[in-house]
Subunit: 344 residues, 2 copies
């Protein structure tokens, strides 16, 4: 009998998630049925969208029930298999969530090839965040040669991919991040054309200086004050793919006035803006294959670089998740739940 240590939802967080919103339990896993495999978690991905599921609010995806294992993408090792498609030792992309071991249906897994790329990248640049950047920017943002693309949380896995893909397509990439260290990473590691610190008192002026020709694509993943500043720089026919609003995820009350919506809609009207919400799964059927080919190529030839921020131990997940929501980490945040056998 294999046991799994699990972190479960104990209460819906009000504002920033607290330790008391989570329970840690160790359970016996059931025996494998036909078509199932036993998994050991190596890496757990932490992503902002998880905060949205820790709620009963209506969304494109069902929220977590109290008592559920917290969800999340994982890279796992197959320990035992009752499926013809996998054998023990295979490394797979799974959706095991915040736990050390899991029983999963083989049909929901994808085998990873450690010779192609480090397996952790399946949760980052070659996984969901990278694909969100790729599909949202190319299908909805549609930057043209020489246009200006702006993205916030630009040091993160999504924002850094947006900026680098924009440059690969001949656009000018301007990244917004919190603090001078992250801004330096934008310029030096990711090759953004300009970096703007949203914590600086001169942020609004700095953004204007960094976008002398205005903004043609704003890839929205934060909301709040950053968005308000960006709106003033948008050009006629600008596009605004919206894949996240992390600035407001922990809000517990209706934001105070004045009401910004009429002014926003007036700008939509007078600038002929396109504002489009999306979740990456919409574009999997049409864009995933191209993404795998293009992104793997860009990573191989150095056009797209990535950083990882790895935290050790499942028990660190709640604190690491709070850090993510506060903008404390740089690069793709992963929890190493167990040893990675593909590393020497």
């Amino acid at each position: 009998m294999t046991t799994s240590t699990q972190i479960r939802m104990a209460a819906y967080p009000l504002g920033m998630p607290q330790d008391s919103d989570f329970d840690t339990v160790t359970v016996d896993l059931p025996a494998l049925a036909d078509g199932q495999v036993l998994l050991r978690t190596i890496y757990l991905s932490l992503d902002p969208y998880m905060r949205g599921r820790m709620s009963t609010a209506k969304s494109y995806a069902a929220g977590l029930q109290l008592g559920d294992v917290v969800l999340g993408g994982t890279v796992c090792e197959v320990l035992e298999s009752r499926s013809d498609d996998f054998t023990a030792g295979d490394i797979v992309l799974a959706y095991a969530g915040w736990q050390t071991h899991a029983v999963a249906d083989a049909k929901h897994l994808r085998r990873l090839d450690p010779a192609q790329a480090p397996v952790s990248t399946a949760l980052g640049v070659l996984g969901m965040p990278g694909f969100t950047a790729y599909a949202g920017l190319l299908e909805l943002g549609r930057p043209e040669q020489g246009e200006t693309v702006v993205v916030a949380a630009a040091a993160g896995p999504l924002g850094s991919a947006v900026g680098q893909i924009a440059r690969a397509k001949g656009a000018r990439a301007v990244g917004i991040a919190g603090g001078p260290d992250k801004c330096r990473i934008l310029l030096e590691t990711y090759g953004f054309d300009a970096a703007v610190d949203h914590r600086s008192p001169s942020f609004v002026d700095d953004l204007a200086a960094a976008t002398p020709d205005g903004i043609d694509v704003y890839f929205e993943n934060v909301g709040g004050a950053v968005t308000a500043a960006v709106l003033k720089r948008l050009n006629l026919y600008a596009r605004m793919p919206v894949c996240g609003l992390v600035a407001g995820y922990n809000d517990t009350e209706q934001p105070q006035g004045p009401d910004q919506l009429p002014g926003f809609m007036r700008r939509v009207l007078t600038l002929s803006l396109t504002v489009r919400g999306f979740i990456q799964s919409e574009f999997v059927p049409t864009h995933y294959e191209n993404f795998q080919r293009d992104m793997a190529g860009w990573v191989r030839d150095g056009q797209v670089r990535y950083l990882e921020d790895v935290v050790d131990g499942l028990e660190q997940a709640p604190e690491a998740f709070r850090g993510l929501l506060s903008g404390r980490n740089v690069g793709k945040l992963l929890v190493r739940v167990g040893t990675d056998p593909t590393l020497a």
Copy 2:
């Protein structure tokens, strides 16, 4: 020497335009140069967009300068011509504005054929409002067979065209209007599937009852409380073409809180909405020819009906314009500035 009586912008209105914001003067018109014609105004179109030009705010179009003749589409008779393209007696679509006579370059005019349709329709169902409905609905709203299309100010020339085009394309049309008389017109004259009175205390519930399958396309031309109610009924992947926000055109202060923008953006995200501002001129090159063909056909075969609200005398324009902004009229609002020689 011909004179023209003109209504000019004397001051930028604060809120609802006042008589004192306008000046009436009579001026001598210059002699015709080569390629010019002398026009006598028959019909002047009054449209909500004009309020936006009575301002110094940045927009897709330059605002009026103080002293300018107020702008507007007109149907005119050619009195004298120094152009090979027009002769005296021709009826033309022009942009002469709020005045009785004008000198215009022939290249900006389009000849109308009174045998094809009443010439006044060139300002309504076969003109700018009809084209805005056609291009915005078909290119941006893209209703599918059986989907639900909602439009407000639905008794007006734009809204009534949106609803009838939606039905011509096999969609379900729900109109919102102010008061039971307008709602009756929606059902009896325009053939909407349902009509909802936004002045009723049960408006929010009535809208829900009228949209049992939710809303797939909301053609936005009003804003404000109507929009807030519609947002709650939008379906996944709903489209929202935005061509006007008349509810806020006279606002003089930032609207009071709470701030509705974060909630709006959350809905854009979780429902994968598309919000797209536009002005009809964007689609003239690609859609105008099809519009002329389709709309003329629909009007001829009775699939699209229209109403006109004609006010006599240029001096009535300011008061009629206030009525338009207050929702007082039904159908396309026209000022008959001079006699229509095409009427028996």
